[in-house]
Structure formats: C-alpha cells, structure tokens
Symmetry: C3
Subunit: 348 residues, 3 copies
C-alpha cells in the first residue's frame, strides 16, 4: 500500500518534519531501508544506524529527531505508532467469509456467516464461531468451543471441549488449548488418572505463540485474562490464572494452580512452581526459578550469566566447598577471639 | 450423571457420614462447590476451605473428617477415590466404533471393528489398531504402527513408522512419537545425517502430554515402560529408556541414550545429559541439571530459588569473586599461622 | 538390503579385515548385534562391548581395530562411514511422484512433477515445490513458500507465507516455521501487536526437529544458514540468524535479533538473550544462560551440576549469605591489620 507522509502524519497524529508528498509503501529496518520505506527507532542500541539510513522517513520521538538526515514523523511512542503504520502498509489478507467444503461442521455448531473456516477444519457439536473469525486450515475445535468476534486461529490450532477465546484473540499454529492437565493420584506405586473436567477460558485480545500448550482445569477452569501475550513453546498447566496484560516469553513453564498477576513481564525459559501466587507488575528475568509466592511488585531473578567453561568449573567447585570456607573463617574468628558482627551487606 | 452418596460409599468402599440419599451430579473444588457437587481434600494447603464449603459431600481421610460441616465419604486415599468418583460422574463420550469416511486407511492396515478412527486420519500400511481404540481427528500413523487395546490418541497425534503403544495409552494432541533422533556425524566441518533405524516402544498405561516429542532410536529402540506419565512439551531423545511408573513434569529434556529408573518423579524444566543412568525411586526437583549418573534413590536438586534482582545481582557478583575470598582467607590463615581443620560441614 | 563386506569396503574406501563374502543386511548396536549385522564403535564408552559383540563386522579406526574379535572395516571416521553404510542398508521409502487427490493445491502454485505431495496437504498461492521434494501428510504451506530440490517435510509441517527451505532440507513433524514473532509495543498498560512482515529463509542441508518453532522476522527475515541442525522443541525468535553448520540441542531458546555464529555447538535447554552476537566456533554447554555477546571461540557454561537435595539446600543457603561471609573476612583482615593481596586465583 502506498501512503504519503502527510497522510500518515494526519492519521496518526504525528508532527511531520519533511515533504508531506513523499510516498512510503512498506516498512524497513534502519539498516536495510531503501527509498519508499518507512523505519523507526525505539531501541537506542540502533541509534548509530539512523545517520546512514536510506529510509524515506523515520518515526521518532522529538528528542531523537534532532539531526535526523531524512524526513521524520515525530510522536511520543514511536514503536506503537510504527506498529499502526505497519498495519496500514501491510494489511492482512482480506477475510473471505464462508466455510471450505472440506471443513466438517457438526450439525449443532453455529458459524457466523461472516466468519471464514479453512480446509480440513473439524468443528464439534455446539461450537459457536463469532463474526469475522478466521480459522486457517486444519483447526480442530472440540464440542462446545466458543470463539468470540474477530478471533484468528492462524492454522492447525487444537481447542479441546468447552474452550472459549475472547474477541480479537490470535492463536498461532500448533497451539493446543484444553488438553488434559497432568493430574494423577498415586496409589500402590502406580498413577491413577484424575479426570480433568474444567476447561480453559481466554479473555479478549490474547495472543498465543506457536506450539504453546494450555491445559484444561482439573475441576475449575484455567484462565488467561484479557490482553495476555504468550510466546512460543510455553507450558501453562491446569488451573493456572494469568492476569491481564501479562507477557511471557518462550519456553517458560507455569505449574498447576499458580496465579500470575496483571501486567507482569516474564522472561524466557523461566519456571514457576505450582500453587503459588505472583503479584501484579512483577518482572521475572529469563531462566529464573520461582519457587514461592511473590507478594510485591519488583524485578526478580535467579539465572546466572555464563563464564568461560574453565572459569565456570572452578567457580562451581569453589561454590560446592563454600561450607569449608565458612568453617575456615569460623576457625580464624575463634583464634582471633572475634565474634562476627553480622554486619549489613550494603557496603559493597 | 446423578448418584447418591450411599451408592458411592458402597461402590468405592468408603464410610459414609451423612444422608445416603443425598445425590451428587458433578465434582467441584471446595471453594467453588454448590449443592449437588462432590469435593475432596488431599492437599493440606486447602484445609481452611473445608469449613466454608457448600459441597454436598467431601472425600476425606478419617483424620481430616472431624468437624467437617457437610457429609463425608471417608477413605484411606481421598485423591484416588475422588479420581474414581469423578470418572463415574463425568464419563468420557461414548465410543463410536467405525472409521470416518474421510480417514485414509492403507489396504494392509488392520483396524479392529470396535475402534473409532476420526476424520482426516491417515493410517499407513501394516498398521494394527486394537479393540476399542479411539483416534481423534487428524492422527497420522506411519507404516507398521501398532496400537494395543483401548489406546486413545486424543487428536492430531503423529506416530512414525513402527511405533507401538501399549494398552490404555493416552496421547494428547500435538505429540510426535518416532521422529528422527538428533544423530549427525561430524565430517570435514559439516554434519552427516545418521539414519535413525530404531523405533519407539511404549508400554501399557502410559500418558503423554500435549506437544511432547519422543524420538525414534538410532539403532535400538527408545523405550517408555508401562505406567509412565509425561507432561507437556517434554523432549525424549533417541534411545532413552524411562522406567515404569516414572512421572516427568513439563518442559524437561532427556538427552540421548540416558536411562531413567522406575518410579522416579522428575520436576519441570529439568535437563538430563546423555548416556547416563538414573536409579529407581529418584526424585529430581524442578530445573535441576543432571550431568552424571545417579546410583541411589534419593532427592536431587540444582535449581536456585529467586531473589529480588538487586540482591541477586550482588550475590552473583560475590559468587564470581569467590576465588578471591578463598585467597583472602588463605592469607589470613598464613598470617595467623593456622592450618585449616578441613572440618565437617555438619555444624550449620 | 544385503551387501557383502567386500562391496562395502570398495564402495566406502575402507580397509577390510575379514572375509569379503560375508553379507550384512542391517545395522546393530555392539551389544545387541546378531549375525548378519554391521556395527560401529565411535564413543569409547562402548569399547568394552566390542569384545563380546556378535556383529558380522564392525566399522573402526585402525587404532581401535586391534584385537577385534570379528571382521573389521577400517577407516578414519567410523561414525561417518557407518552413517553412509546405514543409509545404504536402510534406504528411505522410494519417492512416489505425484499429488494425493486430497491435497489442495492453489492454482498459482507450482509443484514439480517429480515431487510427492501427501494427503490433506494445503498448498497456498504462488508456492514453488522443487524437484523430488517429499511432503508427508498434513503439511500446510502458506502463500509464496519455496522449497528447493529434494526437501523433505516429513509430515504435519507448517510453513507460513514466504518461507523458503534450501535443498535437501529435512523438517520433522510438528515444526512451525514463519509464525508471527513476539512483537508488541507497550502503550498505556496494554500491548499493541507489531505486524511481523519479514519471513524465514533456511539454507541448504538444514534439519529441523519435531515441534521446533522458528518465527518470521519483524521486518527483515529470520535466517538459518546452510547445514544447521536443530533438535526438537527449540524456539528461534524473530530476526535470529544461525550461522552455517551450527548444531543446537533440544529445548533451547534463542531470543529475538540474536546472531549465533558458524560451526557452534549449543547444548540442550540453553537460553540466549536477545540482540546479542555469538562468535563462530563457540560451544555452549547445556542449560547455560547466555546474557551477553561472546566475542571469541571457546567453551562457555553456566549450569550447575546437581547434588543431593539436602546438601544442595545447605549450599544454596550458604550462597545466599555469601555477603556475610565476605564481611566476616573483612573484619578479620581489619583486626589482623592485613590488606587483601587481590591475589591471583590460579593457585587452585
């Protein structure tokens, strides 16, 4: 799509520094921009690329706009404004209402006539598919699934019985929502399956990344509140609740019955124990192990940055004899007649 | 389904404290129970909810049954008894024997007439599907796959050539069993693919969680013994053997040719090196790194619980200069003429 | 397939020590070999099994061939030679050119007549499928996908719009390439989706393991260079670049815009921060956390091997009061009038 900078400035409320008639057709990174492209700068790491960019225009804050060699669209939140412009320049394929003849729709299912259902989808009894939903190929919807308006199942999404997805939800390929949770009762050295009779309720504006899994509740439901963003290959166990607008990066696992608050940001490959509660506005850095509840907003960590393997092995060896080191200090204290002060650690 | 407490007590061998004519229809959590529901208490964490529950009845041990405000079904293992009652109250959809017309069955495959094969399944040559198996939509079975009686492939399960699944196995959606293992021979700075000619043998009563992967053996087979329970998003590499009745939580990876014993319990996001052996009855806590063989039953760990990020960064910094700290202690010892006692660490 | 040792020696350039007329039909491990099988020894761990093997012949280096009780094929790289012989003895099923009648091919797609397209595949507009490609059942190719010659999509592979796969690529089941990256702009406490307009380019001779995900680029493309081998359940975020001939083990996650060099070897369950750069020829051991760029070839680690849980808990407790220990040492130094030497750590 081809739009002039003047039109973009008006439509997205930016101050334009440059020729309003200059057209842009697509987005580009600062480094690889060509004439006719629009770029943006949000991460200061890429600031040096601004000077050499060949973009037709760049979306920037007023502070960053000084000395920009090309046209600028000035705004307060360049990344968000960029996102809106990119959506305009690169619109999704138009919706093609209707059901592919190879899709199997149970008699009692209701598919809104404005929705699109792709090839080889299998739609169970009592399913309800709302207006303008878009189901790519190979989606499986168990009985009683409900999709609110404008939900997109990109392709090959599996939704177990009773799962509901709120308005404007986006589910990437390979996602499995509503498989049985990991519930087994020990009995005589064996595991007895515990029926998983809850389901999964997903709020509006949730996006779920490829091959992520969200298990159905054991009794009550697993709940993903509105605005949550889940990356790829995340495991959400039964009866977890993820608070609104929380974002979780890839490969993280959340164990059963754990509640994560609203507006949290969780790094990749983190792990949460079960039956704990994490407050609102908590940030967990990547690869952290969250073993107990977090009561207060803040940033929490337990990952250790790497070292060269040789150095690392010696650090680990010393760590493992840290008890001996304590003993040696105790011995020195006794010999010197010193009683440890239990002093504050603040004097780093 | 509607059953009286009296009937439940008789059928599951419980002592009933309450009116045998009271009906229950479904299960509920203690907190969200309504009249007509049955609940249970197994995790002491939820004990306080018992007093206020509105359940018609609760499954409890004799010890926990004192002062329960509602009817009680007393038994030794409330969680297991609950599981059985829940299965009675919430029976699975009845099996509908037969093959969906859209399923593609190779001529030499044998599907027991009592089995159910869902839409768009693709069943290869020489496959054998036993009595009362249930294959949901979109399952792919390569040549020579064998399913014993009563296996359930919930939907969208991929079984590579030769894979066998024992009686009563349950495989959740997105699972891939029998993909090629990660076998490559280095040669001149490149990787040469090593054919993976083994397969995967899965015992009876195994359950496998959504999007978990189990690779075929390089030469001999990968083996999952009877009663094993695997959670979601687990990676089992080629030639691994998992012993009977072992349970593994989500996001854990087991590298090639490693053997895990019987009745082990493995936490989430753990990692096992290749070519090692873990004894029977081993417990590994979440996010532990198992780098060498474990010879004896016991509990093993290497995950570090989180701290506030500020505290954590200082801990890591101190950890990384632990060698300097050792040096300072050595210097003090020399100055004081003290030889370290190498004392026992037990005096915590 | 049945081949004589003499023929194998000639074909693969080995020195034969044994009867050239001895036939072999399949491969076997040293431990489970039977007459008519060929085995190999590459990992010294399995050396003791050589003496008792019942294999007809074993592929070995000259050094290892001394005293071998059975026939030997001597070569420099036994694992690579074994791989080639195994491919000869266990050839893949022959290609059956043509498109299954249930596959849906968009009118503008081009499928080479020598390619095989399996049941229920859905092939989008402008797709190009090269000579001798093999697509198993249930593959989904979005618009504009390009497969070069001899690509194998084993089954149930999802390729988003514009994804390209180089010659001889192998993609295992459940893989999702070209789902949207995890790109959201924060705005007023919510997340605004940032369109992901790049795609994924995959070089020649790449293999990708089951249920691995590779996201499309946000603007520029995500790139997997030639010869890369990815294990199962790996997450590759948007705009990552993996250098040629790098191998990554299962459950590892690579965050957005990170570049990994050529010929790297990455262990399982490792995690890479975003926007960093890793040099060529880097080895990262399993479960390491790579938080910043690595400039030089070498081996890097941050995983801590396990201990018995009781020991581990005490180690962690001591680690968490390491600041107190430093304070006590400082106090002793002050009392003794000693200034720490900041001595080198080399005297382990």
């Amino acid at each position: 799509m081809r739009v002039s900078l003047g039109e973009l400035a008006v439509r997205f409320g930016c101050e334009l520094r440059g020729d309003p008639d200059t057209p842009v057709e697509r987005v580009a990174t600062l480094a690889n921009a060509a004439p006719g492209t629009l770029s943006f700068l949000a991460n200061p790491r890429y600031r040096p690329q601004l000077n050499a960019t060949r973009a037709a225009a760049v979306v920037l804050t007023a502070a960053a706009a000084e000395n920009c060699p090309v046209a600028v669209l000035v705004c307060e939140n360049p990344y968000a404004t960029y996102a809106r412009i990119a959506t305009l320049l690169h619109p999704p394929a138009p919706l093609e209402p209707g059901t592919h003849p190879s899709a199997l729709i149970a008699p009692s299912a209701h598919v809104d006539p404005s929705a699109q259902v792709g090839p080889y989808c299998v739609i169970g009894e009592q399913v309800s598919i709302g207006p303008r939903c878009r189901l790519g190929a190979h989606c499986l919807l168990g009985p009683g699934v409900r999709l609110d308006a404008d939900v997109q199942l990109i392709a090959r999404v599996t939704l177990g019985s009773g799962v509901s997805v709120g308005e404007r939800g986006i589910v990437q390929p390979g996602v499995v929502i509503g498989a049985d949770g990991f519930g087994f009762a020990p009995e005589g050295g064996r595991w007895l399956k515990v029926p998983q009779v809850g389901t999964v309720r997903i709020g509006a504006d949730v996006e779920i990344g490829a091959n992520t899994t969200i298990d159905r509740g054991a009794i009550d439901d697993t709940v993903i509140e509105e605005g949550v963003k889940l990356d790829n290959l995340i495991q959400i166990a039964h009866n977890v609740r993820i608070g609104a607008h929380t974002a979780i990066a890839g490969c993280t696992g959340v164990s059963g019955s754990t509640t994560i608050g609203r507006r949290c940001m969780i790094g990749g490959s983190a792990g949460f124990a079960g039956h704990i509660s994490v407050a609102d506005d908590v940030v967990v850095t990547g690869m952290s192990m969250i073993t107990h509840s977090i009561e207060r907003a803040g940033v929490y960590s337990s990952g250790i940055p790497f070292e060269e393997a040789h150095t690392w092995r010696r650090l680990v060896a010393r760590f493992k004899r840290i008890g001996l080191l304590e003993g040696r200090v105790r011995q020195l204290e006794r010999a010197a007649g010193i009683k440890p002060e239990q002093q504050d650690e603040a004097d780093d």
